[in-house]
Symmetry: none
Subunit: 249 residues, 2 copies
DNA sequence: GCATATTCACGCAAATTTCACACATTACAC
DNA sequence: GTGTAATGTGTGAAATTTGCGTGAATATGC
């Protein structure tokens, strides 16, 4: 085994107590550092503190279901997620995978296969980690800030947005769109890219959606929506937001 | 009209002719750039030339079986690999995953699930690509630079152009034309070539378009449009831009 | 019923296409 | 050499098409 000596951290989000105990035991026996939690709401808090290298996620959860948890997590974390579900329906799988899951196993599953897929996910994550470190790392900032004190601030972890110092409420789709732009600040994202990432792969031609939501965002964020400071259009190509302010020292 | 969303490249290694044709058709219909090949020995050669972003791999192949191909590929490539196999035995799955495969689907599989898992793999790969670019700074970002500090700079990744230190706005067609020239800097591109690549194969005779857009570009980029420094004409042949500056040491 | 998402149609601005013509360069004749 | 046609190139400005912002109407879900 040529892996680093540091234990990989696995967060296990599972409703069923028996299954939870089983996974906990098996994973710990393989030398992983495991935390288990029962419902989605707690899982979000725990994920922020624990910073897992991998998440095992049951889809049917109390308080906050698996897919919602996944979406929340993906707003600020790229940790791989393996879904463990009792449902074998194709549309559910496709949806989960498109919303950011890395793998999907149907219960009952083979323990050895699960372990193999865990190794795959951790192997990938470790690879990108190594690439980043060798290239001169720059961790993704958990906050986008632009335009100084009375400018625009997006806090990915808290899912909150401030404009001109005021907290602004955004609907889920509005927030997702803004996130996508803010995470690629300074780069023009094409209509296709935005539609695919926010609405999914079947909506790549629905330019009307984009226009509508861009308008909503501008109404809520821009001092003067007719002359955008943050949400710029590149005619015939797509949209972009300015690169973030240089962090002060 | 050319919308330059670069297609993802998929290599499909599959024994069965019918399945191969099916995958080829379905993937092409989704806008991927696909190459298909019948056996493992040829697949290795093709992978080296084609440089796929993703490999779909059948396990049972003539001349060189799937797992051997996978091991050979992994000696020099990190491209994600999805196994498509008729075998559902757990030990085979585990072995394939541990030898470097990223996913494993058992035939018969649902097309939509395969497509979703293809998207997952490509999404991951693209993410690490993006992280590398932002971390490695401009070192590996493709850029055309010519004429020193107050010269011409084209940043292909950000779709931005600077001339004489000033950011310049280009329309889609203007940008596409400049890109085509900058990508082949130092080489004269004929009228036909340029028209074909920017406007499409039906416009090879529309020399007026070229003249108009060359003029627009010169107005925006050249200090003195009447005496071009960057956008030169080869009388009776076509246009070209000078070779890029030698990278400083 | 309220908040959110989807869909539609119109006016305006930007980008592309099209046109008429001026200016160069080459080729050939004388 | 000079003159002249032929071809190719640069120019300005119209006509046309396309894309975006907008308000508002209609679904959908809690």
């Amino acid at each position: 085994m040529t892996t680093s000596d540091k234990k990989s951290r696995i967060l296990c989000v599972e409703d069923d107590a028996q299954m939870r105990a089983f996974l906990l035991a098996q994973l710990k026996a393989r030398g992983y550092y495991v935390q288990a939690v029962r419902d989605g709401a707690h899982a979000i808090d725990l994920a922020a503190i624990f910073e897992p290298d991998l998440v095992l996620l049951d889809l049917s959860l109390p308080t906050l279901d698996g897919l919602s948890f996944l979406r929340r997590l993906r707003e600020w974390s790229r940790s791989p997620v393996i879904i463990l579900s009792a449902h074998d329906e194709e549309p559910v799988k496709v949806k989960a995978l498109d919303q950011g899951a890395d793998d999907y196993l149907t219960k009952p599953f083979s323990l050895n296969e699960l372990l193999a897929r865990v190794r795959v996910a951790l192997r990938r994550a470790e690879e990108t980690e190594r690439l980043l470190n060798s290239a001169g790392k720059e961790a993704q900032r958990p906050i986008y800030r632009c335009g100084g004190e009375d400018g625009l601030v997006v806090d990915f972890a808290h899912r909150s947005v401030r404009a001109a110092g005021q907290e602004v409420h955004l609907t889920p789709t509005e927030y997702d769109l803004l996130c996508e732009l803010a995470r690629n600040a300074g780069k023009v994202l094409t209509h296709r890219e935005l539609l695919q990432r926010v609405w999914g792969p079947d909506y790549q031609a629905e330019n009307t959606y984009l226009r509508t939501f861009v308008r909503h965002l501008r109404r809520k964020l821009e001092p003067d929506p007719a002359q955008p400071r943050f949400l710029h259009n590149e005619l015939g190509v797509g949209y972009f937001v300015p690169p973030p302010d240089a962090p002060e020292l």
